[in-house]
Amino acid sequence: MEWLTAVRWSPYVAGIGIGVLSWLTFLISKKPLGCSTAFASSSGMIRQAFEGKATALQPYYDRIGLSVDWQWMLVLGVVIGSFLSALLSGDFELLWVPERWLVAFGPAVLPRLLTALVGGIFMGFGARWADGCTSGHGISGALQLSVASWISAIFFFIGGIITAYLIFGLF
């Protein structure tokens, strides 16, 4: 059972595993793997707790539905699955500032948290604008040869590469 306690697998083994997993989600749940809608419905459910039923009638929340659904449970599962994998390999660690960030920008926690917050806002906003994320478009849509997904995935990386080069001053 050494494969369970290995810190890293070949990216190809992990990728093939995700591909096989996508067969099963289509076959059993009739749904593609995807994560970002669950964050959008969560934002609506939090607002609903404060604002009441009117939130669910807003056009966007009405379109995606505000409930704990299949994809919401999938995202919860991702947290737990990653936790179990990291625990088994001894790779779990509580860490505020990632190594690469620390080398470039120092060990202070607040700058990293604020950057993560701003990045998260762009990501949550952009994922809804594009109607999908790296899993929904980049894996599930791309493997179905969807035109919308291939265009999205290519522009995720164009935007990401340019921004990363700017952040790390490599231009």
């Binding site: 699955g81 990291a86 990401g160």
Partner: protein, 188 residues
């Protein structure tokens, strides 16, 4: 944006259970693949280490061959989304900015939380909820305008080329496999 409207009722318990089981496997594979880590994602975007692309492309090739075979056998139906240049190009770029600034994407953000990364839990999760909420707020203004710019609908590459799907699936798989072979040869 012609995606089916979600059911308003609660999903059956078995459906939720399958979601959780598939999520457990997905999170396990993401963590073992190394893509729940900021350093790995940033190294990908700086084009130094192609782990993220390798995971994605091998998932796409494996998934594509299986899904199109099962579609051919009548076991599954495709679940694609419609799009437009306004949605997928502009949204893609905005997402890309977030991808690099945050250093995780929505799925790997959840995985990073499980891995113990607190920048993901505290900054990332709050940010993504705010961003998605902001989009919901602006959606009534965007949906008739920029999101419909250059609309092309719900189409696949075989539709565009008007050929049998295997005429695309087989060469596309071959090209993606060759791309991965080239990445290995180049030591990336």
């Amino acid at each position: 944006m012609t995606q089916q409207k979600a059911d308003t009722g609660t999903a059956p318990r078995s459906e939720l259970l399958w979601g959780l089981i598939f999520g457990l496997a997905f999170g396990f594979l993401l963590q073992k693949g190394g893509v729940t880590k900021y350093d790995v994602i940033i190294a990908q975007l700086l084009l130094e280490d192609f782990t993220v692309v390798k995971v994605m492309l091998s998932a796409v090739v494996t998934g594509m061959l299986g899904i199109y075979l099962m579609k051919h056998l009548g076991w599954v139906e495709l679940r694609t989304k419609s799009g437009s240049l306004g949605m997928n190009v502009i949204g893609g770029l905005l997402f890309g900015v977030g991808f690099a600034v945050l250093g995780y994407c929505p799925g790997t953000l959840a995985g990073a939380v499980g891995n113990g990364y607190l920048d993901a839990l505290v900054g990332g999760i709050l940010g993504i909820l705010l961003g998605a909420g902001l989009f919901a707020e602006l959606y009534p203004k965007l949906r008739g305008g920029v999101l419909r710019l250059g609309e092309f609908g719900n189409i696949t590459l075989p539709d565009v080329l008007n050929v049998n799907e295997w005429v695309v699936v087989i060469p596309a798989s071959a090209i993606l496999i060759l791309l991965m072979v080239w990445l290995e040869r180049a030591g990336l």
